[in-house]
């Protein structure tokens, strides 16, 4: 009986030491350290896996019956820890965990007006864009190449030969009828042939040039183009399309819609149209191995057409130079700021939300233009948007900015005891589509070098087919005094 007090005290101290130092386990501590330090690399993942394999008894639930890492369970384990952090984090470990690579099918347009993009004297931007696209897929990915014009024809050589080919149009001469491009057939075939895990890319000038347009009014051609695009893409649900615009040297004959070709030497836009299931395009956006595919060198503009409203990861920055007034971030579902207090001098509350808008695949001009957003609140909060650059990231704010692309700063007079600031990015075609579209291509004057005939009608048709909702993304921030 006399020893009981000592025994109880010893138990308390031993329990304390064990809980504080070893309770959560070495693996969980290691995962936390990786996430907080932002060192979410393959090397870090491998070191976590080696911790698991070194203690098969302790981490049996993370191993397959054969004693190998169960990457799915490992991802769930990491996600469980990441989502409980402040702010909740996310680490996409799929690329390291035996997830099948996406396959690539290239559809290389070989119409008359495409040949001048790859002349020996030119800069070769078109071929470089296609080569880069292929090279940005991990080594070992399945790559197929097709030539398209009036139909789809398999490229008869290897991918390596394609990459080395200095005159691709010369080596593919005679394939199909280069006098017109049947987009209806091509898009239908691409969408029909596509299987899960496949990404199809059409390399084209996106000029709608159907057979025999002599005497047909341009308005009629545009209407036909618009409804064709809508019809084709509306038929296939669950698809996402990314259109990337590039500029390339053009040297040779240009074939305008009225059928009187003329010589042109200068710049011209061309496009990569990336088509895949929503999941495949999401994987392209989130899997770092494919980072170069959606952000290639030389890309001028891009836009993702898809269905539905996207989820966007957001973190409120506790310490930021623009912050005014005081607030406390409540750790709960959704974003809630409580104990809000306006600035002592101005009465204004200003806070900044870091958001990952990269996955939306919209062009920077659209994302950083506050006019593209709708902001609703009782106290009339206003929004400014700026991209995050590396100079903004410090060790102290890294866990809030890691993986984020833009800062949304909201300012308002704090008057109401409770308010809800609702931010939404309107789903509409970006300005560059209209700016890059022309209604005549009969002469080289004006904006001929930077515009494509009927681009707005073609992309507008695709937009109508795939427009899921009113907004691309929405986020609500609750404010409480």
């Amino acid at each position: 009986m006399k020893r009981l007090p000592m025994l109880l005290m010893a138990c308390l101290l031993a329990g304390l030491v064990l809980t504080a130092c070893g309770g959560r386990g070495k693996l969980e501590k290691a995962v936390r350290t990786v996430l907080v330090s932002g060192d979410t690399t393959r090397a870090s993942y491998d070191s976590l896996c080696s911790l698991v394999t070194a203690n098969p008894g302790k981490y049996a639930d993370l191993l397959t019956p054969e004693g190998k890492i169960d990457h799915k369970r490992m991802a769930e384990f990491i996600e469980g820890i990441a989502s409980a952090l402040r702010p909740p984090m996310h680490w996409d470990t799929r690329p390291y965990g035996g997830v099948e690579d996406l396959s690539l099918t290239v559809y290389f347009e070989r119409s008359g007006s495409m040949v001048p993009y790859d002349q020996r004297g030119g800069g070769g931007q078109l071929k470089k864009a296609v080569n880069d696209l292929i090279n940005h897929f991990p080594a070992g990915s399945k790559v197929d190449i097709n030539i398209v014009n009036d139909g789809i024809y398999p490229y008869q050589h290897t991918v390596d030969e394609f990459l080395k080919d200095r005159d691709i149009y010369q080596s593919t001469a005679g394939i199909g009828d280069a006098s017109y491009t049947d987009f209806q057939l091509i898009f239908n075939k691409i969408l029909e042939a596509q299987r899960p895990g496949n990404v199809s890319v059409l390399v084209s000038d996106l000029i709608y040039s159907p057979k025999d347009t002599r005497g047909v009014s341009l308005e009629k051609i545009f209407n036909e183009e618009n409804s064709l695009a809508t019809r084709v893409f509306a038929k296939y649900k669950g698809k996402s399309v990314v259109v990337q615009q590039f500029m390339g040297d053009y040297s040779g004959k240009y074939y305008p819609y009225n059928g009187v070709p003329f010589e042109y030497n200068g710049k011209r836009p061309f496009y990569l149209v990336i088509i895949g299931d929503n999941e495949s395009i999401d994987q392209l956006a989130s899997d770092k191995r494919y980072a170069g595919v959606l952000d290639p060198a030389g890309m001028r503009n891009s836009y993702r057409f898809n269905q539905g409203t996207s989820e966007v990861q957001c973190n409120v920055l506790p310490d930021w130079k623009d912050n005014a007034g005081r607030f406390r971030i409540r750790h709960s579902d959704g974003i809630v700021l409580n104990k809000c207090d306006g600035d002592r001098q101005t009465g204004k509350l200003c806070f900044t939300v870091a958001a990952n808008l990269g996955g939306l695949l919209k062009d920077e001009a659209l994302l950083t233009d506050a006019a593209s957003y709708d902001v609703e609140s009782i106290d009339g909060y206003t929004l400014t948007v700026q991209p995050i650059d590396q100079s903004m990231v410090t060790n102290n704010n890294k866990s809030y900015l890691d993986g984020m692309t833009h800062l949304l700063t909201l300012t308002g007079d704090l008057k109401s005891p409770r308010d809800e600031v609702h931010i939404s990015l309107r789903n509409e075609l970006p300005a560059w589509v209209n700016q890059s579209s022309s209604s005549s291509d009969t002469s080289t004057g004006g904006s001929f070098a930077t515009t494509t005939l009927g681009l707005e009608q073609l992309l507008g048709g695709m937009f109508d087919a795939m427009k899921g909702g009113k907004n691309i993304f929405e986020v609500t921030i609750k404010l409480q005094r």
Partner: protein
Amino acid sequence: MKHLTYLIIGIAVTVLFFILSCTDGFNIYELMYYHQGFNDAMFNLDMYPVIAAITILVAWGGAAIYYYAINSVKFDRWYHWLAIMGVVAVLAPVICYIYNDSVFANNNMSYIGESVAFEMQTVLFAALLYVVASYSMRWWSSNCRHTPLPQ
């Protein structure tokens, strides 16, 4: 039996303090001092349990040393007990600060001002836990069982 009840209550209070220092939603450390970035980093780097454990160990250790190691009639006055409390109230935050600083440094973070302000509450918690520990264990001390207040 009465003395054993004191001990059990003391242990229960200490365990409750430890639990409340580790939780996310209601965290005893965040009630008194809150600086968003600093506290989030403390939570993410799992420092609260270690800080709480250090505070408890120093407080209970200080009381154990006073009642069972020093345990002398020469040092059985209330101000001797208070002097040990002072040592505990200084030692605990200093050790916690060194620990905090080393973890932040390992993660290339810097929260010096915030850490100093945060450790002010460790002074308070250490002193309170020292009182709890004293009333839990004083009864079995041969020479100091009447310190700080005879009962």
